[in-house]
């Protein structure tokens, strides 16, 4: 009886699940399966942007977001040849490309059929178009989802890595120019001495170091920047010396930074609790305004900034500083001919191998390319970026404007589910920078960059703070962008052939660096030597691979 019942139940369920999925050729309505190599939110069924896409292109999407481990998930898809139509491999797109999951988009993208897309990639095509290793033909698997900006580079603020400091510390110190590591820690030390606790009596934390999982870059990346270079991940590239590339963590000039941290640890500026800290705890500390400084990337703690602003604690928000070594301190250990000049901000970097590719299982690649082509037109870009005119933004005297409420909406995840096409748009080709032609020329493609929004909605504290420095924007705290090196940024380079060495390389750093920071200063030198000896084999293997890869990329781009 029970068995019968369950069989019946199952049959009922099966029946109800045979929802028809209409898939057909041509302009028939179709549903594309989409994988995103990031976690995300499913859009609401009544989402207005997806509705418009369906109306114009007859295309609906079925999204799959990442829930488990990325590489494992991609590995299974490759083993099972289960490719979605639109395939974004996140940070591991290399896997699906070498797995033969993606089609060569150059079969569809060319100056005549897709003038928009071609114009979009043309300025960076030397970087984007690759040579197939075996056949030698030109291939492009993914159109970069970001970094193909038009017009002058916008540097309103440092979006990437920097040393951060609370605004109140700079204000307390009389708005000084902080350029070196020593000046930075000196100021924090003095501030803490004068103000050990905040108004509630909670002690200030001088400097936080986040180490959780992939966010370990807060611990292991700073040295390259102190040497003056923008973000090349875990290697230092000497652009004046034939792009010689080496891992920096095992070099003598890296020792100075961790020795400094060791000193600050013993002065009490850094707490031992910083190492077991999770990301959530880190955000909690930052949001409560008690952390005076840290090395991080701006996007990594956006939540905390929002929380501080919501609470009106503007003086506890952060400024990004481009710190470098005081050259006299490291003079004897610098690579030959190295000059330390601060270049935290790099030239516009196309986000190579990130974004959607079209999989070999897709039955209508041409239709997707056509859709992208059409979407690069102004009306669609405005729809994705700004929303529906009159509803989400308006045009006044040729300028795109939003009310404060409209802008706040765009940052609300709940609102986005109904009114933004994030999941699709984030991985699709898009225009950034300035609108170059037409009636709207001079506006920014993205609301967040539009001066009316950026400066018009800036709070009074920030305005006064900038005025005290005589700056126009927070980007003025660092040097203007350096020209992008031919190889792009080295962290984008695929290092899978040496990934076991790389794992060792990372694990050894994670084991030793906290110990170095916390050890007895008298033992520091011996421990550092031990660290260098331990890490050298894997660092050399990884470094040599990167050296070759960087040089090969340079050769390719310079032709």
């Amino acid at each position: 009886m029970r068995k019968l019942l369950s069989v019946l139940l199952m049959l009922c369920l099966l029946g109800s699940l045979l929802v028809p999925f209409a898939v057909a050729e041509g302009e028939e309505p179709i549903t594309l399966t989409v994988f995103r190599g990031d976690p995300g939110d499913q859009p609401a069924d009544d989402n207005k942007i997806y509705k418009k896409i369906e109306e114009e292109f007859g295309i609906k999407f079925e999204f799959e977001f990442l829930a488990g481990d990325l590489d494992e998930t991609l590995g299974l898809k490759i083993q099972g040849q289960d490719f979605p139509d639109l395939f974004d491999g996140g940070n591991s797109a290399d896997l699906i490309i070498s797995g033969g999951a993606l089609i060569n988009l150059l079969d569809y993208v060319n100056p005549t059929d897709t003038p928009n897309l071609w114009a979009h990639i043309e300025p960076q095509k030397a970087r984007i178009i690759e040579k197939d290793e075996e056949t030698g033909e030109d291939v492009m698997y993914i159109i970069p989802n970001y970094g193909l900006a038009e017009g002058d580079q916008i540097v309103n603020a440092v979006n990437g890595p920097a040393f951060f400091i609370q605004k109140q510390v700079l204000a307390w110190g009389g708005y000084p120019q902080i350029k070196t590591l020593d000046e930075y820690f000196d100021l924090i030390e003095k501030f803490i001495e004068a103000n050990p606790t905040n108004a509630d009596g909670t002690p200030y934390i001088g400097f936080d170091i986040l180490t959780e999982d992939w966010r370990r870059f807060c611990l292991i990346n700073p040295v390259q920047h102190l040497m003056g270079r923008p973000n090349d991940g875990e290697v230092l590239v000497d652009i004046n010396n034939d792009y010689h590339t080496e891992t920096f963590i095992n070099q003598p000039y890296a020792k100075r930074y961790y020795q400094k941290l060791n000193e600050e640890f013993h002065k009490g500026l850094i707490s031992q609790d910083t190492f077991p800290m999770t990301y959530d705890q880190y955000i909690a500390q930052l949001s409560s305004g008690i952390v005076l400084g840290m090395f991080d990337q701006t996007w990594d703690f956006g939540n905390a900034t929002t929380a501080l602003q919501d609470a009106g604690m503007y003086e506890n928000t952060y400024v990004a500083l481009g710190l470098i070594y005081d050259e006299s301190e490291v003079a004897d250990v610098l690579p030959e001919g190295w000059k330390i000049e601060e270049h935290y901000v790099n030239g516009g970097v196309p986000n190579i191998r990130r974004g959607f590719g079209i999989s070999v299982n897709c039955e209508c690649p041409e239709r997707i390319v056509k859709m992208w082509e059409r979407m690069l037109d102004e009306d669609w870009q405005l729809l994705f970026n700004w929303g529906v005119e009159g509803e989400d933004y308006s045009i006044e005297n040729g300028r795109l404007v939003m009310t404060e409420e409209q802008y706040a909406n765009t940052l609300d995840t709940e609102w986005q589910k109904h009114n933004k096409a994030r999941a699709f748009f984030e991985s699709s080709p898009k225009r950034q920078g300035y609108i170059m032609e037409g009636e709207l020329a001079g506006n920014c493609w993205e609301p967040g960059n539009q001066p009316e929004i950026l400066f018009g909605m800036m709070n009074d504290y920030d305005k006064e703070f900038l005025a005290a420095y005589g700056y126009k924007k927070f980007g003025d705290f660092v040097n203007p962008p350096i020209e992008l090196a031919p190889y792009g940024e080295a962290w984008q380079i695929d290092y899978t052939p040496v990934d076991q060495d790389h794992t060792d390389f990372i694990n050894i750093q994670m084991e030793y660096l906290p110990k170095l920071i916390m050890c007895d200063p008298a033992e520091f030198d011996a421990l550092w030597d031990e660290f260098v000896t331990t890490i050298n084999p894997s660092a050399t293997a990884f470094g040599e691979y990167m050296d070759e890869a960087v040089k090969a990329e340079v050769a390719k781009v310079l032709g």
Binding site: S6, Q42, F65, A67, G68, L70, Q79, D82, W214, W299
Partner: protein, 305 residues
């Protein structure tokens, strides 16, 4: 009664009075300790999102807000997911009880000729695992179960652990029950369903709870086989997705002002807590019905008498 026992009886009496009091106190303390994380989660779920970022919330919300619940419950996907979770849990539990119970009975029968072979055969499955890929390929390629509701049911109809639990219990039942039924001419199928099965209610309730909770809490099968099928998502998978957004990679954020603002919008801790509460409540509701069976003492004595 031995002499020693008799002499100790007085001392024992004191214990007997003190014991229930101490016992009660110990249990109350234990309740507090284990209740703390639960109440803390509740407190977070009722707190305002941005405020909760600051941490430090204990047993009571600092800034009350129902927003987390509103935002979750206003999403149609949650109801669909709850239906999928609930229906698959019921079906899997029934199927498990049906098959596992019968199998456990046969393996408790000492005279069954296949008993030792089957026991080893089944027990081994608890310790040897082919690994992720072969299992994935079997289910999704060979059996073509992915992207359908069946993938929740068919691969999870049996658990060896539960079978052993049942077998141990059945083996502990008086042999005479089976023997006397056999004399009456009953076959094994009838003996199992008419005599053994009703006696196993407490342990069946336990096994049902294990299976149901296991099924209710699983998310990996959705992740592997139904991630693209919005209508087949389960409640735990939604929770897992919410938790995963904190692990969001920094893919591309640095190059766009908008992406910069958006990628930092990880799921607030309050939403994570609220969805934990929502996904636990159904179990809280069902539990007492099962608890009835395994807390109340057995009626076995009367059966035997």
């Amino acid at each position: 009664m031995t002499t020693a026992n008799y002499q100790n009886q007085k001392v024992r009496k004191h214990y007997d009075v003190a014991f229930p009091i101490v016992n009660t106190l110990v249990l109350i303390l234990l309740m507090f300790i284990t209740l703390y994380p639960v109440i803390n989660t509740l407190a977070y779920s009722f707190n305002e999102g941005t405020d909760a970022l600051r941490g430090g919330i204990g047993l009571w919300p600092r800034v009350w807000s129902l927003k987390s619940y509103q935002s979750i419950l206003s999403d149609r996907a949650v109801y669909q997911a709850a239906w999928i979770s609930a229906s698959k849990t019921v079906i899997i539990t029934l199927l498990n009880l049906f098959w596992t119970g019968m199998l456990a009975y046969t393996l408790a029968r000492k005279e069954f000729v296949l008993r030792s072979f089957f026991t080893i055969f089944f027990v081994l499955t608890m310790y040897v695992n082919a690994g992720l890929i072969p299992n994935y390929l079997l289910v999704s390629k060979t059996l073509k179960l992915s992207k359908s509701y069946w993938v929740y049911i068919i691969p999870t109809m049996f658990s060896c652990f539960n079978m052993i639990v049942l077998r141990t219990y059945i083996a502990g039942l008086p042999e005479a029950l089976v023997e006397s039924a056999r004399i009456d001419g009953a076959g094994d199928i009838r003996i199992y369903w008419q005599i053994i099965f009703p006696l196993c209610k407490p342990v069946l309730a336990t096994v049902a709870l294990f299976v149901a909770v296991g099924s209710w809490n699983s998310w990996f099968d959705t992740h592997l086989y139904c991630a693209g099928q919005k209508d087949l998502h389960t409640l735990q998978y939604l929770l897992k997705m919410k938790l995963a957004t904190t692990q969001a990679s920094a893919n591309a954020a640095k190059t766009s002002a908008d992406a910069l603002k958006n990628t930092t919008q990880t799921t607030p801790v309050t939403i994570r807590c609220a969805i934990t509460v929502i996904s636990t409540v159904p179990i809280l509701v069902v539990y007492p019905f099962l608890q009835k069976y395994f807390v109340t003492g057995m009626v076995l004595g009367s059966v035997k008498g």
